[in-house]
């Protein structure tokens, strides 16, 4: 039973990161029906910028408690600027193009971002270790401060985003744009600006997710956004693409499924497959959802779409 709860904790941690990234996919899809496949790489950019800035600040003698939040803010600023730029330069000119064009553009962008990152940071693995050795042992279930930090910050950000979308003027403008962009414009909503803001918000969340990934795994690399992006996309589809709450539940659920799968696959298959097959579960879920319930868990439900 300890394995179960341990994997549940691990899965929720991982899942909350997926959820943050999935929100970026689902917001952009909700508002302009575009799958922004470069979004996963935004997480990588956020991770590597945070990592580099922390090293630089630590080298200057800034204490970690200050260096880490400063680095995160720096990474968020970089990602927000990059997200804004990508929308402006790559997607906006394709607003009226057939849907395949922006999709291919997204894949191309993903490659460009990865290769530029490889030039800047090299192709090796960069390490990142936070000096937190303390762990809590709750009846055989080990919980680390990083895990609680990841989970807590994710929940806070998700709550903040829901509040923004449901209760603010910008959020209403986003929902109006998602439901009917032409009418939104006629009612005075600058939909171009709303779309820009959507990319900026999603990119900021991706930057935070980037910090979480390097803090949790302790390493970063220019390709780290690819698999993460695919899984977050799976989470968004699982929850119902376009639905904010769906992205959150989808992310958490996918993280738990993956962790439990990885925890038990060895036992179930008599050691034939190990936990290195954990990535399989996400894609089994994706295939399953697409075949049996393509609208996802919360897809198509009124009011949630952004």
């Amino acid at each position: 039973m300890a394995t179960f709860f341990q994997q549940l904790v691990n899965g929720l941690t991982l899942g909350s990161i997926y959820a943050l990234v999935a929100l970026g996919y689902t917001m952009v899809y909700g508002i302009m029906e575009l799958i922004n496949f470069a979004h996963g790489d935004m997480v990588m950019v956020g991770a590597l910028v945070t990592l580099s800035l922390t090293h630089v600040l630590a080298g200057l003698g800034v204490p970690l408690a200050l260096a880490l939040p400063l680095s995160l803010l720096g990474a968020m600023a970089v990602c927000m600027a990059l997200g804004w730029l990508i929308e402006r330069v790559a997607y906006r000119p394709l607003r009226r193009a057939p849907r395949l064009a922006p999709l291919i553009t997204a894949i191309g962008l993903s490659m460009v971002i990865e290769q530029v990152a490889a030039l800047l940071w090299g192709r090796g693995y960069l390490t990142f270790s936070l000096p937190v050795s303390r762990v809590w042992n709750l009846g055989g279930v080990v919980v680390t401060p990083i895990q609680t930090g990841v989970l807590g910050l994710s929940l806070l950000l998700m709550w903040g985003l829901l509040w923004l979308v449901r209760k603010t003027s910008l959020g209403r403008a986003m929902r109006a744009t998602a439901q009917n962009p032409e009418v939104a414009r006629l009612m005075g909503v600058d939909t171009d600006q709303v779309i820009s803001m959507t990319f900026v918000l999603g990119s900021a969340l991706a930057a935070v997710a980037g910090l979480m990934v390097v803090a949790y795994y302790g390493i970063g690399n220019y390709t780290m956004g690819f698999m993460l992006g695919l899984k977050a996309f799976t989470a968004a589809v699982l929850g119902g693409i376009g639905s904010l709450a769906g992205a959150m539940w989808g992310g958490l659920l996918l993280g738990v499924v993956e962790a439990l799968g990885a925890g038990y696959i060895g036992d179930v298959t008599g050691g034939l497959f190990g936990s290195n097959y954990k990535d399989v579960f996400a894609f089994l879920v994706l295939i399953g959802v697409l075949i049996f319930h393509p609208q996802g868990l919360l897809g198509g439900r009124a009011g949630e779409k952004v």
């Binding site: 003027s169 109006a176 006629l186 803001m197």
Partner: protein, 260 residues
Amino acid sequence: MDEYPLLVAERIGKHFGGLRALQGVSLSLGEKTITGLIGPNGAGKTTFFNVLTGIYKPDEGTVHFAGAPLPSGKPHRVAERGIARTFQNIRLFSQMTVLENVMVGRHLRTRAGLLGALFKTAGTLREEQAIRDRAFQLLEFVGIAAHATRVAATLSYGDQRRLEIARALATDPRLLALDEPAAGMNAMERKRLGGLLEQIRNMGTAVLLIEHDVRWVMGLCDRITVLDHGERIAEGTPREVQTDLRVIEAYLGTSRSVTA
């Protein structure tokens, strides 16, 4: 009656491929007036609205509003300048609540940016409350405040039309353009709508409306412009237009074919 015209559209032309939807159409209207735009189906009325609100760029002609040219092809800038509209086929944000629909209309009169929203500054919270109060006030004005928290799609047809008017009014327009606001309404509802539009005019917002019910329009409007086949065939007071031979022909066919 008015010192200067609020809207001056001059010789507007718009064609789609070979189809001439509008040809040399001029229309001007003053503040505190209700102007009717009538004509048979396909006369170009809705096309004219789309030019006016920036959805279409006119191929010929200019539109001046409150003394300055209107930006074409940028509907949100037109809304900012003070023209708001409703639609022939109702187009609400159907999954949002009634109140939220109206609050969207306040967006362009809102200052708060992303940072203000994120940090919940006192100014942002105050502004949000002001938006809410104003939206509620407008719902009361059009008479559907009781339904404020309902999802817009669940309203009755007539109430949805009223909601569209409230949403348009939320942008603080100087000109309210209504595309067949009375469509599908019975005589009783039409009468109430007419009263509402007169109130809007008297409060200082000009009204331009497309309508098919000629008798209703004649009783309501200060001036009327008649379009047929994309051209303006008459303009004047209801009485002048009513007796215009070209108008009678457009609606009834040529006098010869009527008598024949």
